[in-house]
């Protein structure tokens, strides 16, 4: 736990002024330090020694402006998007159990309400818990199992087709794999088990390749 530290804002301000950006008085926007004063993008056709330039000047300016925009965008993206820190395996396991308990609870309700419209409520909850789990622990291989199950249930509302017995088997499978260390190989095995239960874990159609097939000898 730590207290609020306004010093951090100052550090960020310094870092930003170094690369020519600063917060406005209200801190609400990012502007060039000297509007119009920033090094003007050099247009190739204006450079000395460039004899052949197969672009019109306006196109070249446009391209350079795009480059500048890309640079600024890169900076903005870097400031706004924060990487999800990789958490310890121990913590991953704790969080996995936390979510799997909820998923299993939803499965119990789905089994109870199978064939009824009310089941959709629990299916929806199941999907949102799966998404939350993926967001918090994106690196846990167990997520592959959950997302494969998601695909199988979500595609064309196939969740309504599966039977109570199938869901019961899935519940057992989720618990079994949640209670052990899972690597990619084990996750793949679990997905195969899902297939064996009858869940189509790759329901999405794939685009046929445009490349011509190799001639058969």
């Amino acid at each position: 736990m730590k207290q609020f530290d306004t010093g951090d804002i100052e550090k960020r301000r310094e870092a930003e002024s170094e690369i020519g950006l600063f917060f406005g008085p209200s801190g609400s926007g990012i502007l060039p330090t000297e509007p119009g004063g920033m090094d003007a993008p050099q247009i190739p056709s204006q450079r000395s020694g460039v004899q052949f330039d197969l672009r019109t000047q306006s196109t070249a300016t446009e391209i350079e402006n795009d480059k500048l925009f890309a640079e600024i965008s890169k900076f903005l993206i870097k400031t706004d998007v924060v990487d999800t820190p990789r958490i310890n395996e121990e913590a991953e396991r704790i969080i996995r159990i936390h979510y799997v308990e909820q998923l299993c609870e939803d499965l119990v309700h789905i089994i109870e309400k199978i064939g009824q419209p009310k089941a959709a409520v629990y299916v929806d909850s199941f999907f949102s818990i799966s998404r939350a789990m993926r967001d918090v622990c994106p690196f846990d291989p167990y997520i592959e199992i959950v997302m494969a199950l998601n695909d199988a249930m979500a595609f064309k509302n196939r969740w309504a087709v599966y039977t109570a017995n199938q869901y019961e088997l899935v519940r057992g499978l989720l618990k079994k794999f949640a209670n052990q260390p899972v690597n990619s190989e084990l996750a793949m095995r679990a997905v195969m088990e899902l297939e064996d239960i009858g869940f189509d874990t790759t329901p999405f159609e794939t685009e046929p390749s445009d490349e011509p097939e190799e001639p058969q000898s």
């Binding site: 736990m1 924060v82 958490i87 913590a91 969080i95 936390h98 299993c104």
Partner: protein, 250 residues
Amino acid sequence: MPSPNLHKTIFEVRYQPRLKFYNLFMSAAEQFTQYPHWETNRLAVVLRDYETHCSLYLGHDKCVYEQDSADEKMDERNIKDAIDKLRPALDVGELLRFGYRRLYLVPLTMSFDSLVTVLNVKLFSQDEKLKKIMPAQVRDLMYRTDLEDESFKYHLLLGPLKKAEVPKHLNYNKKNHLAPEKVEEDFRDICLGYPEVSLLIDIDIYKEAFGKDKKISLEEASGFVKSSRERAGVLASNLCEYLFEKKIGK
């Protein structure tokens, strides 16, 4: 499964201030013979034991027992002794408030970031609407609630701590619980012994008298301490079990 380690216990009773106190408190202090050291400013007295890291404060409006130790038997013995002597020694029979507080540290092997993620997932709302409003990453947090059941009220605080942050939150009573000759040396050793990453569980259970004429009898305090001790222990253990569970049941 990580378990909570008791680090600090505080018991406090508050009573109506009376002038009579100043005629009684020195002789009252003499009756607590288990504390070899003492200090007074003539308005209050503090009795100390540097060996067992505990102290008793007698003031005109409150009496506070504090220990920086995990010795539960000592806490039981010394608090009972304080309650038993309050009436005969200070003529205190009715109380305005009493409180029993325990601070636990749960040492953990996971990183601080991981602990923050676990606590965030387990203790705070994961509503997608809220997530859209808030900045993406939670870097640090604190869970603080005031609770109440049929008998008592609670202040509960949970928070992840790095080693360097522990002294600030555990608030070791250096002055009263460490020998003055080597206080800094001893305190440094204590700080070095704190875990790299831990969870602080701070449970304050209390009861207060409401209204001008409402009072709590001193006799209630004994029962209160016994049940508070149990409640705090159970609450800390159950919270640990909930927060760090690694197996799913059948």
